[in-house]
């Protein structure tokens, strides 16, 4: 059982800093996702852990021992790549057994291990086949088997399912998650897909421009994003530009006036109001808006509402309470986050509307 520590990693490509001052601890048996848009440095970070890129500064430790100076073949890590994983001139058994042969294990032991790991990934009949006879999903399963058979301390996955179609991708990530849980291997998984990260990770490290923005559990990242970038990147978020206005009661954003008691932000400073669609509640007494579009998402509806001064906002509605397109509607903010530069503050709770003091959230229109 193993832990991984990245200490102040730095990697430059020319003048461009791909990874900057990155420190991260992955606990024993944890499933950690590196999440971010393309070019954020997540794959570079993973390749540094695997030994394929050398950091310009910083240290990588596995179980408290530095591996920074070791080449990939001497690190206790195993990587599954996005594509081009399997060696086309070797059978499946040859691919899986390669690393065991390098380690000069006895033949009988190699055969047993190969059989065992192929059963583990659900392809017990594959050993004699060649990679080109397998589907994309099967190839990636063999790649996972080839990584696991070496019993690495850390499993590294670099967007392994991004080349598969959507349905298969969902199934594969469930399988990998179950497999990871069953054998309890410490795993680092790179993805740009926030939904994928939210569904499989124990913790997510959100990266942007080579810098770590926030490391947290999926639940906390979603509910308590620490930066505007994380708030916008994870899930859907309505962003409304605003300004600190103490006379109006705190923050003025569109038609709303929200209290800002916890922070001492100067008057006139720009801030952004961020509201999840599920925190926008339809309430006849709320701020008026016009329904622009109603999108049917199966068991619920996504409603786009034009609110004067706040642009077009997204909210969810049940099928029973479906508003008509073009109709007027009142909406209320049940819970919101306010971001100013690197600071943020939360307003409201997830409690039902009746429990809250009305004055704090009532729109300006109601107050006058």
């Amino acid at each position: 059982m193993s832990s991984l520590s990245l200490r102040r990693l730095e990697k430059r490509f020319g003048a461009h800093a791909a990874v900057h001052d990155l420190s991260l601890d992955v606990r024993d048996g944890e499933f950690m996702c590196l999440l971010g848009p393309s070019g954020c440095g997540k794959t570079t970070t993973l390749r540094m852990i695997g030994g394929f890129e050398a950091p310009d500064a910083g240290d990588i430790e596995i179980d408290g021992r530095s591996v920074t100076a070791l080449p990939p073949e001497r690190r206790p890590t195993a990587m599954v790549f996005q594509r081009y994983n399997l060696w086309p001139h070797m059978s499946v058994a040859g691919n899986v057994a390669f690393g065991l042969r390098v380690r000069r294990l006895p033949r009988a032991e190699i055969d047993a291990k190969v059989r065992e790991v192929l059963a583990l990934v659900g392809l017990p009949d594959a050993p004699g086949k060649y990679p080109h006879q397998l589907s994309g999903g099967q190839q990636q399963r063999i790649a996972v088997a080839r990584a696991l058979v070496l019993e690495p301390k850390i499993l590294l996955l670099d967007e392994p399912f991004s080349n598969l179609d959507a349905r298969l991708r969902v199934r594969m990530r469930e399988e990998v998650k179950q497999l990871q849980r069953a054998i309890g291997i410490t795993t680092v998984f790179v993805t740009h897909d926030q939904e994928e990260a939210l569904t499989i990770a124990d913790r997510i490290a959100v990266m942007r421009d080579g810098v770590l923005e926030q490391v947290d559990t999926p639940e906390r990242l979603y509910a308590h994003p620490r930066t505007l970038f994380v708030a916008d990147f994870i899930g859907t978020m309505n962003l409304i530009p605003g300004r600190v206005d103490r006379q109006a009661g705190g923050l003025a954003a569109g038609p709303w006036r929200l209290p800002l008691s916890a922070v001492a932000w100067p008057d006139g400073a720009e801030a952004t109001l961020a509201v999840r669609p599920e925190d926008l509640v339809i309430d006849p007494a709320g701020t008026p808006g016009d329904v622009r579009r109603v999108i049917n998402l199966g068991h619920y509806l996504q409603v786009l509402v034009d609110v004067p001064g706040a642009g077009t906002l997204r909210l969810f509605a049940g099928k029973d309470a479906a508003p008509a397109e073009g109709a007027a509607l009142g909406i209320r903010i049940a819970r919101a986050l306010i971001f100013k530069d690197t600071e943020s503050v939360e307003v409201g709770t997830m409690r039902p509307a009746a429990d809250r003091p009305a004055s704090a959230y009532s729109p300006a229109a109601d107050r006058s």
Binding site: F52, E73, V102, H132
Partner: protein
């Protein structure tokens, strides 16, 4: 109109296609067929339509000491030139494909230069150099001059082949515990094999067919088959030239049949798709 009208035009169209194919086949295979006929002809004089069948010229050619010496020389020098070329060029090609070093492009292009100018000028200047180095009329000199012709194939084709192999395949091997050398010999080289075989094939034929340079460097005692051809065509009966041509093309045919095993469609593409 009745459907038979379409059928008849379809047949016509097919006939035109078949005719064009036959014409092309005759154009390509006709000379080869004539060559084969000549090689098996005791004599073929007007007005006989077909030659008098005989292997006597084969016996004549193979009994000629000069000819057998040239055959020996060719089969010793061309494989050696190819092997040496591969030994030097394949690692160089790997470096061209994988490493980023200053002057990479210019250096790669420089291998074209040997083929960019009239070769005879190049050979003459090489000959003056060989005189100083005492390489004229030596086996080593012949091998060296044949290698000049192989360089282009042995650098360019393997460079393209290595570049086409995704680095992930090599990284996966390193990840599994293999060192750089093991990775090259057990992963990269086998995957590159079809491309390397093509390169070896072209290089061997270039070395085997080389006549101009060998004529200048190797005369009088180190004569290869293509050089011998000049003499045979000029001073022997026609069937001798034909027999010799067939002998000259045997290695290429053998090589093609051998290579076919490795150049199956799909082998190269395997593992490159997901």
């Amino acid at each position: 109109m009745s459907p038979t009208w379409y059928w008849s035009v379809g047949a016509l169209r097919r006939a035109v296609g078949v005719g064009a194919f036959l014409a092309l086949a005759a154009f390509i295979l006709g000379p080869l067929l004539t060559l084969l006929l000549w090689a098996c002809a005791g004599s073929w004089l007007f007005p006989s339509l077909l030659p008098e069948f005989s292997f006597k010229w084969w016996a004549y050619v193979l009994a000629n000491a000069d000819v057998t010496k040239a055959i020996r020389m060719s089969f010793a020098s061309a494989p050696l030139a190819t092997a040496l070329s591969a030994l030097i060029c394949v690692p160089a090609a790997y470096a061209f494909a994988r490493l980023r070093f200053p002057g990479r492009r210019a250096l790669l292009l420089s291998f074209l230069s040997a083929n960019a100018f009239p070769k005879i000028g190049l050979y003459v200047s090489i000959a003056t150099l060989f005189y100083r180095l005492n390489l004229m009329d030596t086996f080593a000199g012949v091998v060296l001059i044949q290698m000049v012709n192989t360089l282009l194939f042995m650098i360019w084709i393997p460079t393209g082949t290595f570049r086409g192999i995704n680095t992930n395949l090599e990284e996966a091997a390193r990840d599994a515990g293999a060192g750089p050398l093991r990775t090259f010999f057990q992963i990269t080289l086998p995957i590159a094999l079809p491309g390397l075989i093509v390169a070896v094939l072209f290089a061997f034929l270039a070395a085997f067919d080389e006549a101009q340079g060998t004529l200048i460097v190797g005369t009088p005692n180190h004569i290869t088959m293509p050089v011998m051809m000049y003499t045979l065509v000029l001073s022997y009966p026609q069937p001798v030239g034909a027999v010799f041509s067939v002998l000259l093309s045997l290695p290429s045919i053998a090589f093609l049949l051998l290579a076919q095993r490795y150049l199956r469609a799909g082998y190269l593409a395997a593992g490159y798709s997901l």
